[in-house]
């Protein structure tokens, strides 16, 4: 949602710096699409359909923390407790709003559930240096990760920011949400509470 607004307001920046595949026969395209669907179907059929309604497991992509250490995203953990991954950017106002709203209640959340927030910034080298400045300036205590070339964003199939995930104690993503509106953080903590209580994470 944020990126869509960004497109509208930043059209001039965007379009800076500006083969009709008639060789693809219609039949060929059909075969490819059918093959894709078939292969998707086979794979998903083979998956476990547990009661936990796992969306997918965390992919293993390299990101850096604010100290410059490289971290593999499949190693993100919270001592067996659920944690939240929130994709944001310094230029994304709703993202900063969401993280500010969570920051107001973060201490309470941590006392109650032990949840942890990984704030993954997709700022590229234009603004990634300002991430640390903004995080400190706002007094956030999150674990901030830098995904400068959007590798983690792509692997998690994030289209636009903000996009937030809740990961259970086993490193499996069980809930995701895109866009932010005031009050949506309540949904987030409710998901975490249900996970801790062992209840199914209904949508």
């Amino acid at each position: 949602m944020c990126l869509v607004w960004k497109l509208k307001s930043l059209k001039s920046i965007t379009l800076r710096n500006n083969f009709s595949p008639t060789l693809i026969k219609f039949k060929m395209k059909n075969i490819l699409i059918a093959a894709l669907l078939l292969f998707t179907g086979i794979t998903v059929l083979a998956q476990e359909t547990g009661a936990d309604k796992v969306l997918f497991k965390l992919p293993g992509v390299t990101v850096t923390d604010l100290k410059g250490t490289k971290i593999s995203t499949d190693k993100l953990f919270n001592e067996g407790k659920p944690f939240i991954i929130s994709f944001w950017a310094t230029w994304c106002k709703p993202c900063v709003k969401e993280l500010t709203a969570i920051a107001d209640v973060y201490e309470d959340w941590q006392t109650e559930t032990g949840v942890k927030v990984y704030a993954v910034s997709i700022d590229d080298s234009r603004s990634s240096a300002q991430v640390k400045t903004l995080v400190n300036g706002k007094g956030w205590t999150y674990d901030v990760l830098l995904d400068q070339n959007a590798d983690f964003k792509r692997a998690m199939n994030v289209n636009a920011v903000p996009h937030t995930f809740v990961v259970n104690g086993k490193g499996e993503i069980v809930w995701q949400h895109t866009s932010y509106s005031d009050g949506a953080e309540l949904d987030l903590i409710n998901v975490v509470r249900r996970l801790i209580a062992g209840e199914p994470v209904a949508h």
Partner: protein, 560 residues
């Protein structure tokens, strides 16, 4: 194109044959999974000659893409199917078409990682190599080839890449190859692991090759073109406690291309960053020098494609509409810039903090040209087929490109009312940046007030009022936006942009916009109707007009 598809079909056929075998052979212990996302933007246009919205022959334009990723333990693969029929206004029309322009297979084991297919990666901050995609902006310069990552010791990572770049539905004529080394001393030296002193070092090398072609200088003499062009960069980053210092220096050898008017001068760039951070306060200062570092894998290309180098602007990325009205575009052939930012939080229960605290952010950027001096082999600065110019490294040029100062104050008054106030002052060299020769520098004062009022824990009303005051260009603008949200599903907004200060009273247009969006977890559908003003973009001597539009836009996105 034909080779593309036969490789891909072979790969796909391999998946289809192997996967059921793999899955049935094991009890799915690693957990293979398929996931992906989907986005569609469709616009329906109406003619509006007043604002300059031209008739669109196909009436409706649509961009859409689907990503599918498959992962099973150390093995990952994915592809993206895109269709632009026809590409939405503002996108390069050469994207028209449909197909699979992106696919990859990746295998990771211990110290090695190999990726084949289309690669997105960057070396350091991307000055000499960055491939990335930004589909909402119509940008994709992926490298079609091979990438190998090797980590011989903990904290040391070596990367090598080789391939050709995406050129709409085809590949660019140039071959790009390069390598990068990154050393994190705190990981490498075990005694430094918990040290307050952190140090990283990196170096990279990139070379591009393009076959010879006939290009003339101004005197109709055929240029002797370098077929291989190399760039190298070195970077460091150190921090001690709350202080940080970093820098990157890059050089490119002679690279005559359409963006620099075919001069043979080498390119140079330097970026320095200094910062201080503690809880509640962040300070950063960046200085940049850019001289002829633009690099594409096709010499004569002037569009927004085939970039090998990533040269971002050293200004704050604005998100409010009027604050982003005059966006700075990096001048790849010459720039001396400075940016400083301070973020500070007035703590709760202090005088300026109030009950909930106050956030304040101040940002300043200044960008000038570099000094260009004549070289003795030419009487004209920057003449094609010559060295072009020389430039003393530390001197700042006289031409002002951009000055921008903004201050943002956020304060929560009560549990349900929050205000975000922004003031911005901008000096914008419209002549150079938008290719309007003879027009004076635009001085603009911009005020934005964003108020959010929570009606209930899940219902909120947000009002944004913005004003842009200037005596140049089109005069004053005003914008208001009212948004009503019911968390987490519904968004309704109404907005209007009004050029009330235009000296030509016939052109004091309104650009209204109405939008409704429904959001269900990772699925979102948004329908909006409105007018959008036109814009001009100039890149490397070619200017393109993004026409105004009047119509409906439907956006559907989903992650699964």
């Amino acid at each position: 194109m034909k080779t593309y598809f036969s490789t891909f079909t072979t790969l796909l056929a391999t998946f289809i044959i192997l996967i059921p075998a793999l899955l049935s052979a094991q009890n799915n212990p690693v957990g293979s999974q398929v996931n992906g996302n989907f986005q569609m933007d469709a616009q329906y246009y109406r003619v509006d000659s007043a604002i300059g919205a031209l008739p669109v022959p196909e009436k409706m334009q649509m961009n859409s893409w689907t990503n599918i990723t498959y992962s099973a333990g150390s093995f990952n693969a994915g592809l993206r199917y895109e269709t632009y029929l026809n590409p939405v206004n503002g996108y390069d029309p050469r994207y028209k078409g449909t197909g699979i322009p992106y696919w990859f297979v990746d295998y990771k084991t211990g110290q090695f990682q190999v990726t084949a297919g289309h690669i997105y990666d960057q070396f350091g901050s991307g000055t000499i190599f960055r491939t990335y995609e930004e589909h909402n902006l119509g940008y994709d310069n992926s490298l079609n080839g091979i990438r190998v990552k090797f980590s011989p010791l903990k904290g040391v990572e070596l990367k090598g890449i080789y391939g050709t770049q995406r050129y709409f539905w085809d590949k660019g004529p140039g071959i790009v190859r390069g390598g990068d080394a990154d050393i994190n001393f705190n990981d490498l030296i075990t005694s430094w692991a918990e040290s307050k002193f952190r140090f990283q070092l990196g170096g990279s090398f990139v070379s591009k090759y393009q076959a010879d072609e006939v290009i003339y200088n101004d005197k109709q003499e055929k240029l002797i073109l370098p077929l291989n062009v190399a760039s190298a960069a070195g970077r460091f980053n150190l921090s001690y406690g709350n202080f940080g210092l970093g820098g990157e220096y890059a050089q490119k050898m002679n690279d005559p291309n359409a963006m620099n008017n075919f001069i043979y001068k080498k390119g140079e760039s330097l970026l320095l960053t200094a910062s201080y951070n503690q809880k509640g306060l962040g300070i950063i200062v960046q200085a940049k020098r850019l001289d002829n570092m633009g690099c594409k894998s096709k010499r004569t290309e002037t569009g927004n494609v085939l970039d090998i180098a990533y040269l971002p602007a050293i200004t704050k990325q604005q998100s409010y509409t009027l604050a982003a009205f005059y966006p700075y575009a990096t001048q790849p052939s010459n720039e001396m810039g400075l940016e400083a930012q301070v973020n500070y939080k007035f703590a709760k229960n202090t005088l300026l903090g109030g009950k909930y605290g106050t956030d304040i952010a101040v940002n300043f950027s200044a960008i000038n040209s570099i000094v260009k001096e004549l070289v003795n082999d030419s009487a004209v600065l920057g003449a094609s087929g010559t060295l072009g110019y020389t430039s003393p490294f530390f001197k700042v040029g006289d031409t002002k490109y951009m000055r921008d100062f903004n201050i943002e104050i956020g304060h929560k008054f009560t549990k349900s009312f929050k205000l975000l106030f922004t003031y911005m002052f901008e000096d914008y060299n419209i002549e150079v940046i938008e290719g309007h020769p003879g027009e004076p520098m635009v001085h603009a004062d911009i005020f934005v007030a964003e108020m959010t009022y929570k009606l209930s824990p899940s219902k909120a009303l947000r009002l944004e009022t913005q004003a842009l005051l200037t005596k140049q260009d089109e005069g004053d603008w005003m914008m208001s936006l009212l948004e009503y949200t019911v968390a987490p599903k519904w968004f309704v907004s109404v907005a209007d942009q009004w050029n009330y200060g235009n000296q030509d009273t016939e052109r004091q247009f309104h650009y209204p916009l109405v939008a409704v969006a429904y959001n269900n977890d990772a699925n979102r559908i948004q329908l909006s109707y409105g007018k959008q003003r036109e814009g001009i973009v100039c890149v490397g001597g070619v200017c393109r007009n993004v026409p105004a539009s009047n119509g409906f836009t439907l956006t559907v996105t989903s992650s699964f």
